[in-house]
């Protein structure tokens, strides 16, 4: 038996999915967390039920990615039961989608979630009456607390019914549907889609267009508007019947602080800078502890074992990869994700998107672009995966481009371990400043040269909620697990390749080749350029390779301050790591991935060359 979960964004579908299946999916107080379908199976009284968590959508009839996914799911006969999840506090708007879904006349069940929040704002919903109007069972729940979620599966099995509710459409629309149905032998839902210009068959599309043009002429409104209007009226009517308002408990208006220019924007800046600084400090401290730990308990015993040279080289590379992975993943990325989870779950991120909208416009994006950019500070890979949130190709392209320039945790390691350690904190901050300038300049150029339309922001503001520790930890864990799954294999392979290169003396040959360029243009010894190159495999490996090739961890004794600074800037800017390139290729295509890599290569080398002239 297959059951699909459908609902508006941010109504708690994923929480319910998690409750029902025990499978960890990411849950956010930010619309659009579930971009792809999630599958999970559970067993109840010997019945196997497969649940499918679908992306949140406001409608079944648009052309956005999530609407297409949900529509094709509903249209296919994949699901035996469709469970509509509704936010009790926003019943009227949520019913709009439920009414659309019920037009498919499939067995349904309605979950009225977030009853606690609705009650707090003085909203009482008469579930029995709602159930009799819709003709399906209505189950009130507070999913986040697990309240009444136990009765969902029994209800799915025993009392899912085909809804009886019917939207009364304008008589012209009804007439048009009737004629399409009889002349072209269409189903009711296909007819109403055809009328809105969504028909595969050319004949039907032509007939439907003629009808809808006629209706548009009569009403001076588009057919889509009339249909949406009729559905909204129906939803409003139902909501008026079943919702009873009482005087709500009014808290202080925190939004007044968060979404006004003053103090909203300073608060936003303080939060972001505060997070970065905290991650910087906590991360460096934890990293040192983890690296020392692995050195003492794994590396040294391994070296003491006295294996044959080739095996030893591979073993060392493997341990180094694991050391680097954990040394970055937990101290920097996990700490960072904890903060991001807090921002999401509190509902602050939507406010940040609203505030950043205007600024991001200058760079060819809109408010929602802040998500990938902020995530980029953790790791570029998930950040680039999140550009899917953006609606147009143009915005996705610009966002991907800029995200690859954002200094991720691995680059933070270089800045902290090299510039901050050997030159000073101010110099480390100046690297950030430099990178910020490069990002801003790139954004300004891209917003002018990238083709395509800009689609403005239409974003529902999540209500402010108190984040729960459990969900914050769970989400950060899921994300770090995803990071480890994607990045760890690459780290290990790259590290072993590097080890073998070194073993077979390929590195020495390369150094001889690159030396003239390295010394004259960047002012760096040739081994430093080799280190830079290995930074492509893993960003922070540039630093590790540098230490290995220099033969000492006290880099201050072999390199000048200027050389250290140039090395850090070049490695931070130039060519994203291999994992990032792979995910860029997947999200925006091979050609653009190459363009971005080439651009960062040029910018990195150029910055290095200019600094070399200025500093020497």
């Amino acid at each position: 038996m297959k059951v699909g979960l459908i609902g508006n964004p941010n109504v708690g579908k994923s929480v319910i999915f998690h409750q029902l299946t025990g499978i960890g999916v990411e849950v956010s107080n930010y619309p659009g967390t579930t971009i792809n379908r999630q599958y999970g199976t559970t067993c109840f009284q010997k019945a196997i039920i497969e649940f499918i968590d679908l992306p949140g959508t406001y409608s079944l009839e648009g052309d956005s990615e999530e609407e297409k996914i949900v529509r094709s799911f509903v249209e296919s006969d994949e699901a035996d039961v469709i469970v509509a999840v509704l936010d009790a506090g926003r019943l009227e708007r949520n019913l709009y989608l439920t009414l659309q879904v019920s037009e498919y006349r499939k067995p349904m069940l309605v979950i009225l979630n977030m009853m606690d929040e609705a009650e707090k704002s003085g909203i009482q919903v008469d579930t029995a009456q709602l159930s009799s109007i819709l003709g399906v069972e209505v189950i009130p729940t507070v999913a986040i607390q697990g309240k009444n979620t136990g009765s969902i599966i029994p209800a799915i099995l025993s009392s899912s019914r085909v809804p009886v509710v019917k939207v009364l459409y304008d008589h012209h629309i009804e007439a048009a549907i009737k004629s399409l149905k009889t002349i072209h032998n269409l189903e009711w839902v296909d007819a109403i889609h055809a009328l809105q210009g969504q028909a595969e068959d050319a004949d039907i599309r032509e007939a439907a267009t003629a009808l809808s043009e006629e209706i548009e002429r009569m009403h001076r409104m588009t057919v889509a508007q009339i249909i949406a209007g009729n559905r909204h009226h129906c939803a409003e009517h139902i909501a008026n019947e079943v919702v009873h308002f009482q005087s709500p408990e009014r808290g202080p208006d925190i939004d007044r602080l968060l979404t006004t220019r003053i103090p909203g924007i300073p608060i936003l800046a303080a939060i972001l800078i505060g997070i970065l600084l905290t991650v910087f400090v906590i991360g460096s401290w934890l990293e040192e502890a983890i690296v020392t730990l692995i050195n003492t308990f794994v590396m040294q015993p391994f070296l003491a074992a006295g294996l044959p040279p080739l095996a030893e080289q591979i073993g060392v590379s493997l341990i180094l990869a694991i050391q680097a992975g954990f040394g970055i993943a937990f101290p920097f990325i996990f700490t960072f994700y904890l903060f991001i989870a807090l921002l999401e779950d509190s509902g602050y991120l939507t406010r940040a998107a609203f505030l950043a909208d205007r600024t991001l416009h200058r760079f060819g994006m809109h408010g929602q672009g802040i998500i990938p950019l902020v995530l980029g500070f953790g790791c570029n890979v998930p950040a680039i995966m999140s550009v899917k949130l953006l609606r147009t190709k143009r915005e996705r392209l610009i966002a991907s481009f800029l995200v690859t320039l954002v200094p991720c945790s691995a680059r933070t390691v270089i800045i902290a371990g090299l510039v901050a350690a050997f030159i000073g904190l101010a110099a480390a901050m100046s690297v950030y400043l430099l990178v910020t300038i490069v990002i801003l300049a790139t954004g300004l150029i891209l917003s002018r040269v990238t083709p395509g339309d800009q689609y403005g922001m239409i974003l529902e503001m999540s209500p402010l909620r108190r984040p729960t520790l459990k969900n914050v930890l769970l989400k950060s864990w899921l994300r770090i697990r995803e990071f480890l799954l994607i990045a760890m294999p690459l780290l290990i392979i790259a590290s072993i390749i590097l080890g073998l290169f070194q073993y077979f003396g390929l590195i020495a040959a390369f150094e001889e080749f690159i030396a003239p360029f390295s010394e004259t243009v960047l002012g760096l010894p040739s081994y430093a350029t080799t280190a830079l190159l290995f930074g492509i495999l893993r960003k922070e490996m540039a630093l590790e390779t540098l230490i290995i090739l220099a033969g000492t961890a006290d880099l201050g004794s072999v390199l000048t301050m200027a050389q250290i600074y140039i090395f850090a800037v070049v490695s931070v800017l130039f060519v994203p790591c291999i994992a990032t390139i792979a995910v860029l290729k997947k999200e925006i295509g091979t050609r653009m991935a190459l363009v971005i890599s080439a651009y960062t290569l040029v910018v990195g080398l150029l910055a290095g060359a200019i600094l070399n002239i200025l500093l020497s």
Partner: protein, 214 residues
């Protein structure tokens, strides 16, 4: 009433002279254009002069003042819209349409003409030429971007096709009541629609026409 119509007719005719670039008329020219005797016009002209709508020039011609130009222009616009409605939409002959418009232009309210103008000009979902003609008292069409924080408004038109669909789904379609919850100048707005707060970019808010009633 009779005098009011005549006053508006005079201002409208003067406005026509002025805007077509012809030489300013003397009282006799006006009388001919309106099909009246110059004697009939004299008292009304004196009244208009006294109220500051027109000024006689030394050579006997008449010019409109700023307030006179405004009134004349408004009457002229009403005439045009009514004429267009009668001939284009109701299929009356242009002459009859113009005649009807001449009578009705003095009685019709600003709101009615505004709505009629929109009805004629507005293509479904799009609408044109609305900017710069909101003059009505107590009734205004404006875009969501121009609304003030705290305003409660009614959506009258959503002009964009692509994002418009999403706005429809969220409940922002003609007839819905919305409240502007937050507005940062130049940075878009947050509106409350059907108990949900929706943040809109400025370029999207500029596509949503709303009206303020009362």
């Amino acid at each position: 009433m009779e005098t009011t119509s005549l006053r508006e007719d005079i201002l409208e005719t003067l406005y026509k002279f002025q805007s077509s670039g012809r030489a300013a008329p003397v009282a006799e020219d006006l009388a001919t254009a309106l099909g009246k005797e110059p004697g009939e016009l004299r008292p009304v002209l004196a009244l208009l002069e006294k109220e500051g709508d027109l000024v006689p020039n030394p050579d006997g011609t008449l010019s409109l003042t700023t307030s006179g130009t405004e009134t004349g222009g408004r009457v002229m616009r009403k005439h045009r819209i009514l004429e267009c409605f009668f001939s284009e939409m109701l299929g009356m002959s242009p002459d009859t349409a113009s005649e009807e418009a001449c009578t009705l232009e003095h009685g019709v309210s600003d709101e009615a003409i505004e709505r009629l103008g929109r009805y004629i000009q507005g293509k479904p979902g799009r609408g044109t030429g609305l900017r710069g003609i909101r003059r009505g008292k107590g009734w205004q069409t404006l875009t969501l971007l121009e609304a003030e924080e705290g305003d409660t408004l009614t959506v009258s038109c959503v002009r964009c096709r692509g994002p418009g669909v999403r706005l429809n789904d969220l409940g922002l379609f003609p007839g819905t009541e919305v409240k502007v919850v937050r507005k940062i100048s130049g940075n878009g707005v947050v509106v409350r629609v059907k108990d949900c707060d929706i943040a809109l970019s400025p370029e999207i808010a500029a596509f949503v026409l709303v009206e303020r009633t009362g």
